[in-house]
Symmetry: none
Subunit: 404 residues, 2 copies
């Protein structure tokens, strides 16, 4: 038996409530410009500190030692779907994040408007046109409804981005198709190529779609092209209900995280812009679900921007709002990240993330502050994120004993 | 190569002595009613503290993160038999625990006397009759010596429990048979059903055994039935000698732990009721064996009873007796648990267990007390119990270098 099989053999249902608060990318490394502290060490967080003093802490390795995860693998791990085995394509993520319902067999691609000159891409993001402009351009592209029997579904996203779904009733299509984005400016868009019969057929459809699309866009010189990436199909994953006997809900504002949550069968709840609003959504829905995934984007954004103070500020905002969440305390609460995003790296990183688990049976260790270095010596040790859900279910008394 | 293959490739024999002192269920979580201490933190343990200050400590995960082990998986892990791969059925455990010698092919079931009224079970434990009464009733059942060529062997256990072994010389029998215990009172005992030819045959024997047994018991209305559970065969496991080149002995009073030890080929030594007695048995036998498994039950019992002070008391008794064990110090001594049994949970739990390893080459870290939170920051980190035996063999200089 492996871990998953043991877990499946011991799961039971009960009424315990579990909250997983993900401060995206909050993990960091000590920064010489800020007294050699990490943002979590630097931030004033009286509420998190109090919670920590009643909790057990540790560090999690999102995928595997030294591996920097994208948001997909990072979150899959947190939800207990082994990111080494399960992959979600970028096109699918973007599509479900926009609220599109993917059917089995659909192929989704992430697209973005670009500027082309003499057949060469001179701006891969078309000057980062605003969402409204993208909506207009998508309406033009929507006149292409079908090519060779394959239905074309277009949905505008944020900024210069949109999603295209290819749906075929009669003929099998597959997603083994390269990006047409040449990755650097000054080059022509690449031709789409497939790798098996079903993807070779779809690649020919994609190439015709691009050709007809560019003709339609030729009247708009600064947005006269688009690039396609991340061709993918919806993975076959058990839902959180099937896997854990949990009625789950996501309180996440950003499309990608909503997308991942919806692929796992989580109900997508209202996600106001403010952190207070996210926590209030939890309070309003607490009775209806067993598991709440609450996603904070600001910490990752600040890390990507290399903005230490913005990251500190976001952490402090979460701390200030925390009493709202604790007003109706769940049986189990975990605070952690999907990956680290050190400000000094301006990107996701491979560093283990800090973790706090609080509940009647979590136990408590000597940690009194929630930050990376306190978590190094906590009662949970270091372990891979994919085991977190088992630990949370155990804390919620949702697991039977294994063996006699 | 996996861990086991590497281990097997480097094992050598020598004369070092290894003691594994298992304080069953000693791991706990901090308890608000006792100054937020765990029993190990609360107990006065000058001898364990002194030993700790000369030792290296860490924490072990018995089976896998978040998984609560039964006693079987908990101990198998300690002895280096991967509890994810090896399972020992409850019937087998009970049988070997009573000192019965199982032959290959035997099927054992755990049975208990019950009270039946109009065909419905009204007390699943027959009022928890004393052992002497069970002995009498077993003597009555023992008149059933054979059914359809299958030998029936009955052995009374503690309280209302007994074991039945089914032994067949001519025809294959198998243990894929459901419990006949309906689990709730007010229901009739279930019929035994098999899943393959050999177990379908044995199920028919079991049903006949139950029918004839009930007839024999009908003269005793309060103990006129019995329920069967945990049909199982002896697993094929290498002995401790085969696996580790260790002559091993168990000093354990309780049937289940004696049973597990005997399945691994350990010699079962006398196990007096007192902790001093257990340690004296070690002294008396030190020259005859390489490895001693010493089992303390009181810590787990107190945890199951939710009795913090009894747990503290048992820990202090172990501490007081420790100088006896150390009078003739083994080369390597490990102190740990098979799982945690927090008093506040009244049950086994998923929490990592504390571990101490002492020997000339163990090294020592900063820990000066043996408890969960000191072990969080020890020199051994967090690891799965199944690796403990390798560590102990290494400390006993019983492993060659791996690779050139």
């Amino acid at each position: 038996m492996n871990h998953e099989e043991i877990l499946q053999s011991v799961i039971k249902c009960n009424n315990s409530k579990i909250v997983l608060l993900v401060m995206d990318g909050v993990g960091d490394i000590r920064n010489r410009d800020y007294h050699y502290k990490t943002p979590l060490e630097y931030a004033k967080t009286p509420n998190l500190d109090k919670l920590t003093s009643e909790s057990v802490v540790g560090r999690m390795i999102p995928v595997s030692m030294g591996i920097t995860p994208g948001s997909g693998p990072g979150h899959l791990g947190l939800f207990g779907y082994d990111p080494m085995d399960v992959t979600i394509g970028r096109g699918v993520l973007e599509a479900v994040g926009l609220g599109l319902h993917l059917q089995d067999g659909d192929v989704a691609a992430r697209c973005n408007f670009a500027t082309m000159n003499d057949g060469l891409i001179c701006d891969r993001r078309a000057g980062r046109i605003p969402t409204e402009k993208t909506v207009e351009l998508c309406n033009i592209l929507k006149s292409i409804k079908e090519i060779d029997g394959v239905e074309i579904i277009i949905e505008p996203g944020k900024g210069h981005r949109f999603v295209t779904i290819f749906r075929s009733k009669d003929r099998k299509i597959d997603s083994l198709i390269n990006d047409t984005d040449p990755q650097v400016e000054g080059k022509a868009p690449l031709e789409a190529n497939g790798q098996n019969d079903a993807s070779i057929f779809l690649a020919s459809v994609v190439n015709k779609f691009i050709k007809r699309g560019f003709e339609l866009l030729s009247a708009y010189p600064s947005t006269n092209a688009f690039l396609t990436r991340g061709f993918s199909k919806k993975p076959k994953l058990p839902s959180m209900r099937e896997k854990y006997c949990l009625e789950s809900a996501a309180i996440a504002a950003y499309p990608m995280y909503r997308g991942i949550a919806s692929l796992l069968g989580m109900k997508l709840l209202a996600a106001p812009d403010s952190i207070e609003g996210l926590f209030e959504t939890y309070l309003e829905n607490k009775s209806k679900y067993d598991f709440f995934f609450i996603h904070i984007k600001g910490t990752d954004q600040a890390g990507e921007d290399g903005d230490f103070e913005a990251k500190v500020n976001c952490i402090e905002k979460v701390d200030s709002a925390l009493p709202i969440l604790l007003r109706s305390r769940p049986d189990v609460i975990a605070v952690t990240a999907d990956h680290s995003t050190p400000c000094s790296m301006h990107s996701h990183s491979f560093h283990p993330v800090p973790l706090l688990v609080n509940g009647e049976f979590s136990g408590k260790d000597d940690a009194v502050c929630f930050h990376e270095n306190a978590c190094n010596v906590g009662g949970l040790g270091f372990f891979e994120s994919k085991y977190l859900m088992t630990l949370l279910l155990a804390n919620g008394k949702r697991l039977n004993k294994f063996g006699a």
